[in-house]
């Protein structure tokens, strides 16, 4: 991947690419991690039954969890890269608010969550709110 970017004067397409990478990698990581935790079950109950070691073992023996962590790690380094080239006032609101919407869509499609009108409304309100707050 080669982006035509220079510190302090990042182009629009490069900025869009960097923010899109953060959003897509975060969404993939969060959906995979959520799927892993749903498969594992309530961690509080596991910890009450098998102790902290049992809870940690339940998490680290789930392959989906590591797939999620791998995507979240990629999202983290893409965020560091974006923060190094773009202003926080652009990266933080754009990535945080877009990720809320992409996660709502991904949660409905991949996790089969029942995203009713209340949750869609919450996603949109919080998305616009985070943008206004951090912009």
């Amino acid at each position: 991947m080669m982006l035509p970017i220079q510190h302090g004067e990042t182009g629009m397409w490069a900025a869009t690419g960097m923010i899109s990478a953060v959003v897509l990698l975060s969404t993939a990581g969060e959906v995979l991690t959520a799927a892993a935790m749903q498969r594992i079950g309530d961690l509080d109950k596991i910890r009450a039954h098998s102790g902290m070691k049992g809870a940690i073992k339940a998490v680290v023996t789930c392959p989906l969890f590591f797939a999620g962590v791998a995507f979240l790690a990629l999202a983290f380094f893409s965020l560091l890269f974006a923060l190094n080239h773009l202003d926080l006032s652009l990266v933080a609101p754009a990535a945080a608010s877009l990720t809320l919407v992409t996660n709502a869509v991904a949660g409905k499609i991949f996790l089969k969550e029942n995203v009713d009108r209340r949750r869609w409304a919450a996603a949109v309100f919080v998305c616009v709110g985070v943008y206004l707050l951090a912009h």
Binding site: M1, M2, L3, Q6, H7, E30, V31, T33, A34, M37, Q38, I40, G41, D42, L43, D44, V59, F77, L79, L80, F81, L83, N84, H85, L88, A92, A96, T99, L100, N103, A104, G107, K108, L111, K112, E113, N114, V115, D116, R118, R119, A121, A122, A123, V124, F125, V126, V128, G129, V130, Y131, L132, L133, A134, H135
Partner: protein
């Protein structure tokens, strides 16, 4: 739809998620703006940045966030946890106003109101909703009308 209400302990975990994420991001931003520009030709310098104090503090906060976030996802939907924990942005803005005496513009107050309303929407609903396979599983487990009649 079942009403999966949260216990005070579970609300505490959501609060830790909400506070640690924005504080961690702020530390990362503070650290990354202090290091020289990093190019894709030298990715090793990204790893070196991890060991600078602000980035390290940000990572410590994000580890706390991640442990709480995983716990929350084990008993709540992703589409519940993400909007609910966005309230952390409001907490950070209010701390900036009343602790650091920063000025909050009308635009930011609008953002605070919108996030609070959004969090109110999800917080009044169930933390975990039924999936297609949950319903199928319950139907398989429940006796049919014919079985009940026998």
């Amino acid at each position: 739809m079942p009403q999966h209400r949260l216990s005070p302990h579970q609300w505490l975990i959501l609060t830790v998620v909400a506070i640690c994420a924005p504080l961690g991001d702020t530390c990362l931003s503070r650290g990354m703006t202090g290091v020289p520009a990093i190019s894709l030709q030298h990715p090793g310098s990204l790893f070196a940045a991890v060991f600078t104090p602000w980035v390290a503090a940000g990572i410590a906060l994000l580890i706390g966030f991640f442990a709480s976030y995983l716990t929350a996802l084990s008993w709540a939907d992703l589409t519940f946890v993400l909007p609910a924990t966005a309230f952390g942005n409001v907490i950070v803005a209010l701390l900036a106003k009343f602790w650091l005496h920063n000025t909050i513009s009308l635009e930011r107050w609008s953002g605070i109101v919108l996030i609070t309303v959004g969090v109110g929407f999800v917080a009044h609903g169930p933390a975990r909703t039924e999936r297609a396979w949950d319903v199928a599983g319950a139907e398989l487990a429940a006796p049919s009308e014919e079985e009940r009649a026998r």
